[in-house]
């Protein structure tokens, strides 16, 4: 779904797991800002803010690289690295659908 102010939203219920949501804005083909929310578990929790910073200015095709660097630093429960990737794809698909 596309919310106001060019914010794109994605939502994913992991089968047998938790809910992962993201809202992001895109500028010149790259992520401008991104935030993940949901009822999943990740330790240490505050690392999520590091991930969101790392993704700023990153193009979609570069996300995998960032994820490969980030996810070994945390433990996640109720969702996977792939789910985080998928929820971004869901949000971005909404942008493409609009164009």
């Amino acid at each position: 779904m596309k919310a106001g102010n060019g914010i794109l939203k994605g939502e994913l219920k992991v089968k047998g797991g938790k809910l992962v949501k993201c809202s992001l804005s895109v500028k010149d083909g790259a992520i401008e800002q991104i935030k993940f929310t949901g009822d999943f578990f990740m330790y240490p929790e505050e690392k999520i803010e590091e991930l969101e910073k790392m993704l700023e200015g990153v193009r979609v095709e570069e996300i995998t690289e960032i994820f490969d660097e980030f996810f070994p630093k945390v433990r996640i429960f109720g969702a996977s690295k792939q789910d985080f990737f998928d929820v971004i794809s869901i949000a971005i698909k909404n942008l493409k659908g609009d164009n």
């Binding site: 938790k18 949501k21 949901g38 009822d39 429960f77």
Partner: protein
């Protein structure tokens, strides 16, 4: 037999409760804590959007506090009159390394304790305890500095109407669980076995933990260091900066 500390706390406000749990996590002394919330409060998971999850207007109307937890997981209504919260703190090596296995061990001990209240409860992955498929308890775990904190709610009485007026339950989540009415997915001790004496409940849960973990619980107190940390941590939990960060 290993001795763990038992803290039976009465009711405190949301910010103090969360500050105590974090302080205990930092010290890492093997501890089981029981507590209540006054005023009633909503706690949300670390990653949740406060406005997405909570009907803030309705909370304000009812004088209900809202606090962001240090742990992930979902939003919980801690009803002053209808719920008891537990927390378990221990060094990581005292629990299974695998997160699901550690949740299973803790929740199964609680379910075992509930058995002494006449309730046939069981662990339901990932982090719930259910009675006949209905949720009676939900938990959240975090680990840091080599220690584990798991805290969770056990429902004694349920004001479903109030609870669901305070929480914005995601349509996607309900869709996945395959049941339309969220209130049909939840139960409480009183609905299962009638009036509950809280002291008896705590005794039953203590027994559940003791037998589940092969430990002995001895009532104790927080030490000075833990107490002084609570003061500082409470400021964080009360701040808008913390609670509205997502």
């Amino acid at each position: 037999m290993e001795k763990w500390r038992l803290l039976v706390h009465g009711a405190r406000d949301a910010f103090t409760n969360m500050a105590i749990d974090e302080s205990l996590l930092i010290s890492g002394k093997p501890t089981i804590r029981f507590y209540k919330w006054k005023p009633s409060a909503i706690s949300i998971g670390y990653f949740q959007g406060i406005e997405e999850e909570v009907n803030l207007k309705e909370c304000e109307k009812h004088g209900i506090d809202v606090v962001r937890r240090i742990s992930g997981g979902g939003a919980v209504f801690h009803d002053e009159k209808g719920e008891i919260t537990y927390s378990l703190i221990a060094p990581e090596e005292m629990l299974p390394e695998n997160i699901l296995a550690s949740c299973d061990k803790i929740c199964s001990s609680i379910a075992h304790g509930l058995g002494y209240m006449g309730v046939d409860a069981e662990f339901s992955p990932l982090n719930d305890i259910v009675v006949n498929g209905r949720k009676i308890s939900g938990s959240a775990q975090t680990r840091r500095q080599g220690n584990v904190l798991q805290h969770g709610t056990i429902l004694i009485d349920l004001n479903a109407e109030l609870m669901f007026s305070l929480l914005n339950v995601s349509a996607k989540k309900i869709e996945d669980k395959g049941i339309k009415k969220a209130s049909k997915r939840v139960t409480c001790l009183q609905a299962e076995v009638g009036k509950v004496n809280e002291n008896e409940l705590i005794k039953a849960l203590v027994r559940g933990f003791e037998e589940g973990f092969g430990i002995q619980l001895a009532e104790g107190k927080m030490d000075d260091e833990e107490m002084s940390r609570v003061k500082k941590l409470r400021e964080k939990y009360e701040s808008r900066e913390w609670n509205f960060k997502r």
